[in-house]
């Protein structure tokens, strides 16, 4: 089992979701985060006070999958999120020790899908 964490551009969320559904990955968690990578932040100016290099809004996806789904999930996220410009984001794949479905108390691979 793996936990896939992806940081993507906010306006790419719908396309990523669509690609994930096509890959039959339906269970995702989405949250809004701020991030700073290679892409420079946008200057903000408030009554003349200038702030540069600010953090930009990003979307964070968390997806727990069984091993056979790891590659299709990565491919789907890349397909949906890629614009080839800096700021497209990153995908992290982590080992996942355990997964419990609260309603049934099932554990492991069956609880993920």
């Amino acid at each position: 089992m793996k936990l896939i964490i992806a940081i993507i551009q906010p306006h790419k969320l719908e396309e990523v979701k669509e690609e994930l559904y096509k890959a039959q990955v339906n269970l995702i968690t989405v949250s809004e985060v701020l991030g700073h990578g290679r892409q420079m932040g946008v200057t903000e100016i408030y009554r003349g006070a200038k702030e540069t290099g600010n953090l930009l809004r990003k979307i964070r996806l968390e997806i727990a999958v069984n091993d056979s789904f790891v590659e299709p999930t990565i491919k789907a996220i890349v397909k949906g999120a890629k614009t080839q410009e800096t700021g497209d984001g990153k995908i992290f794949v982590l080992d996942l020790k355990e997964c419990v479905r609260i309603r049934t108390e099932e554990r492991g691979g069956v609880a993920i899908g």
């Binding site: 306006h11 719908e14 396309e15 669509e18 985060v33 701020l34 946008v42 903000e44 100016i45 410009e85």
Partner: protein, 409 residues
């Protein structure tokens, strides 16, 4: 003779109408995505600044100086000759400048209405030039034709009490033209944008409803019975339209929505605008109930069918609602309400409906053509639409270096 009661009411009404532009800012601002809310508020506010100046320098003169030509001319440039004595051809009991400043607020809100069509994708610099040109070459001439002494639509007897033609059809058709040539927002098929803050929309609607009493009842230009009639029918048409929009949704979609009630109330206010000084309360209820039907069809059926991206339905509500109001004036107008007006079709004068139709068609044709030309002109020199990356990041950060909401703290 200056009448103090009339003057007080018209000044108060001017302030009420001014408030409608910030109200519109919140009405529209709530509907866009949060990365663009400041751009909409900014567009509305800068219009208040720019057109206030344009109006006293040239706009009022072009619109209201008497004359039979294309517009009124520049004899009243910089309000030269527009003083504190009444100008009886427009309003005999209030200072000329009171009439001028009341009209200024209409000149301000009209171009602001168009913002709903191109929201979320227009360059701010292009927007400024477009607005200034549009106010001068579309609003001012049309205002002269309908309301100015010697204006030809006024002379053939077209009735527009508070601006159904000059304000709403005019801005609404300009909205359609800009929405079509500007093109859809990027990724619209996959990503139908939900309004980011519906409470703002409700706040804006409430303030619009409030301000509209100045818009319509103030258009009597006196604190008299006609103003009272306009006040009462304005309220009742908004109420009827808000209710009927909710009922339509309930029947069609299973649930009534607050967004629907707000849309309906604004449509009702639009529809009663040309009619407010000519129709009775019962007519106003009918006008209000039916405007939601035509506007609902425009925004929920016709727009998806043709696929233009009138982002916030400036055309669907203001143009369609305005046309219904202008024609309804030709149906329901009655001399029993206003002896200075005319009877409509239902009171035995079919010709009035025809005159109303002429005024509508002239507005639609003239405004479409000139709006198109102005748009193309601005597009050639500075480019109207922002690039895709800018659109994705949002206009607040890219056009104004500000953001409306922070996530942390």
């Amino acid at each position: 003779m200056v009448n103090s009661g009339d003057t007080a009411w018209v000044l108060m009404s001017a302030a009420l109408v001014l408030l409608m532009t910030p109200a519109l800012a919140f009405f529209y601002g709530g509907m866009v995505r949060r990365k663009n809310v400041l751009s909409v508020l900014m567009q509305c506010f800068i219009i208040m600044c720019v057109l206030s100046i344009q109006w006293v320098l040239i706009g009022y003169s072009l619109s209201f100086h008497p004359g039979k030509g294309f517009w009124g001319g520049l004899q009243w440039f910089g309000l030269n000759g527009v003083g504190l004595e009444p100008y009886a051809d427009y309003a005999g009991t209030i200072p000329h400048q009171a009439f001028m400043i009341f009209q200024a607020m209409f000149a301000i809100i009209t171009p602001a209405l168009i913002i709903g069509a191109f929201a979320e994708r227009m360059k701010f610099s292009a927007f400024l030039i477009f607005t200034l040109l549009w106010a001068t070459f579309v609003y001012d001439p049309l205002c002269h034709w309908v309301w100015g002494m010697g204006g030809w639509l006024r002379n053939i007897g077209a009735m527009d009490f508070a601006g159904g033609t000059v304000v709403h059809i005019n801005a609404g058709i300009a909205a359609l033209v800009t929405a079509i040539i500007l093109g859809k927002r990027t990724n619209l098929e996959k990503n139908i944008p939900a309004p980011h803050n519906l409470p703002f929309v409700v706040l804006g609607t409430g303030l619009l409803w409030f301000g509209w009493f100045g818009f319509n009842a103030g258009s009597a230009l006196a604190a008299n019975g006609l103003a009272v009639n306009a006040f009462v029918v304005t309220n009742i048409a908004a109420a009827a339209a808000g209710l009927s929009w909710a009922l339509i949704e309930w029947l069609r979609n299973g649930k009534p929505t607050i967004f629907g009630v707000c849309s309906g109330a604004v449509a009702g206010l639009v529809a009663i605008t040309p009619a407010a000084g000519y129709v009775s309360v019962v007519s106003a209820i009918i006008i209000g109930l039916l405007v939601s039907v035509v506007c609902f069809i425009a925004v929920a059926v016709i727009k998806p069918l043709f696929g233009y991206d009138d982002s916030l339905d400036a055309f669907g509500v203001h143009c369609i609602g305005g046309i219904w109001g202008a024609l309804a004036t030709g149906l329901f107008a009655s001399k029993l309400v206003n002896p200075a007006g005319a009877d409509g079709l239902f009171f035995g004068n079919a010709k009035q409906l025809l005159i109303q139709l002429v005024a509508v068609l002239v507005t639609v044709v003239y405004t479409s053509v000139v709006t198109f030309v102005i748009y193309k002109l601005v597009d050639v020199f500075i480019g109207v639409r922002v690039d895709e990356k800018t659109e994705a990041m949002g206009l607040d950060l890219t056009q104004h270096h500000e953001r409306a909401y922070t996530i942390l703290e």
